[in-house]
Symmetry: none
Subunit: 187 residues, 4 copies
């Protein structure tokens, strides 16, 4: 019976992932999840406490994974490779394995505890960029924040359109180069 249970448990996550990805947390109904899984709505509540718990079932592990990788990236990036290559690597790994979760947690999480996650990431990125720039020329921190935001949302957009590894590499590289060049302007 344990196997069957896990099967359903996972199918719920699968279905929910797709629905959250398409419609976001707020606009995904428990009914639509249950229907697509092929079980009753009340049965859903035997597996997960409530709608939010399903969301966290989809996202929590990825969140840990993403954050730890992100912190690693911030703390000690390998000095042998340039920063752009490093970024590109990290992002590609995330997207190629967890494209949908990445989009969900950053862009479809209104109504959950991850609501502000995207903002946090962008703020961290922004602070990081500030330390890289001798930004005595930048009057306001906002511009850097915006560029961090631009960059991160560019990545989200790429994630939304993910096709294959090669496509991903080339698009991310272009995006990274673009921003590197643009940032040169600010120094």
């Amino acid at each position: 019976m344990q196997i069957l249970k896990d099967e359903i448990r996972n199918k719920i996550l699968d279905v929910a992932e797709n629905l959250f990805y398409q419609n976001g947390f707020r606009d995904t109904t428990t009914r639509s999840i249950a229907n697509e899984v092929g079980i009753s709505v009340s049965n859903l509540y035997l597996y997960y406490e409530n709608k939010e718990a399903i969301f966290y079932g989809v996202t929590d592990r990825f969140y840990e994974y993403f954050v730890s990788g992100f912190e690693a990236f911030l703390d000690h990036h390998d000095k042998n490779i340039t920063m752009d290559v490093c970024i590109s690597h990290y992002i590609r790994k995330i997207i190629s394995t967890d494209q949908k979760k990445f989009v969900i947690i950053t862009d479809k999480s209104q109504g959950t505890k991850y609501e502000g996650f995207k903002q946090q990431i962008i703020s961290i990125l922004s602070n990081h960029m500030k330390t890289q720039l001798n930004n005595n020329l930048v009057q306001d921190e906002l511009v850097i924040y915006i560029l961090a935001k631009n960059f991160f949302e560019g990545i989200i957009e790429i994630a939304k359109n993910y096709k294959n590894e090669h496509w991903l590499e080339s698009n991310i590289n272009t995006l990274v180069k673009y921003h590197m060049k643009g940032m040169g302007e600010l120094m």
Copy 2:
């Protein structure tokens, strides 16, 4: 002796503008508007036909203004000034008068007739950029689309943080220069 008390009529628009700005059309309830205005929900309907009408009360005039300016910008940009200066001018005018409406109509309008407005603008911008680039080096149109999106959302972000004219000018100029430089990378 006015037909309806302008004070409240305007307070409704004010309150609604702020709530739409914070939560978007979908997630703003008539109750929240009424509560914050300090009237009953049913009284709201004395001033506006329905929730959508309140939204359009906030946005319609701005929409006309925005679109006409945007078309003018696309059609005949003054050859005496460079494009970046031209963009900067237009945007500054919009933001300094209507920052919130600009954000609402582009980013908080799900459930209204302006739902697709931001996408339209970005698509137009994107196409415009493609004609400027000899983009034989750009493998995928997505990148250009993302950069148009980046640019436009950068502007939205600036709008969200608007402080004063001088601040606005300098931030927009920086953003424009940044993207101009970045686009150089794609040619």
Copy 3:
């Protein structure tokens, strides 16, 4: 000021009569009355206590008139003229002077104290007919009731389509003759 007041008082009745006639009591809003009169809704309540009172303002006097005439007709119909002529006379008088009120009170009064008026009239007519027939052949009183109803609703229908005196006379005569002949079948 008294004159002005009466003017409005009467205009309200006029307008209400038309609206009740078109839409019935239930589906006529106080707003629509006030709008068409050209006054505010609240002003309506200075003239009449509530929507029902307006209805009775339109109908009460007619009700008295109708009932007294009807009773007279039942009690002592002139022996010099035949019953059909008598009926025809009475009905024509009612319809040519108060066509709309007649329809309203009999067919548009749901939600008022006259709700059951049509039924009452029909019942009385039905009883009256029973005394005229030696109805040992009629198994069930229902048929007579139906014929009374048929007859009365035929009259309502004629009232709804009232054009002029001549038209009225000829149509009522036809209807009366029809039913007289039909009733012959029951004797």
Copy 4:
């Protein structure tokens, strides 16, 4: 193990049939239905999509049945039996099985897709009658229309009072004979 408890599903239809029959579609509230069934209003929506769907749950099947029978009657009435017998048969079948539905669909359907159904039937009957009469003596088509209406509403009234087969037969026969005789007057 049925998808929805048929008992309640049917009780809703039963209750709704009675309420529609008494108050019509417009003036029957979802609350009154739910109260009388003994469930919550929201539970109603588990069984039927909305108020209109409940109405159609009550009426749709009957509508098909009624119309097909009616068309058959108009198209090829058996030449071996006279028209009055034919009518009588058809109507008796309808009423003995579905008296209330018959009344609801013809007389209580304002606000639904069957709103105009009674008028249609009466118009068809009226036209049918006109072809039967050499009506050079009838000044106005209204009278024929009224008689068609009378006849049809007589049937509705009989439906409202239905007791048993024998009662039905005798009442309908009387009504039909009555109108046949009355129509003789118009030729």
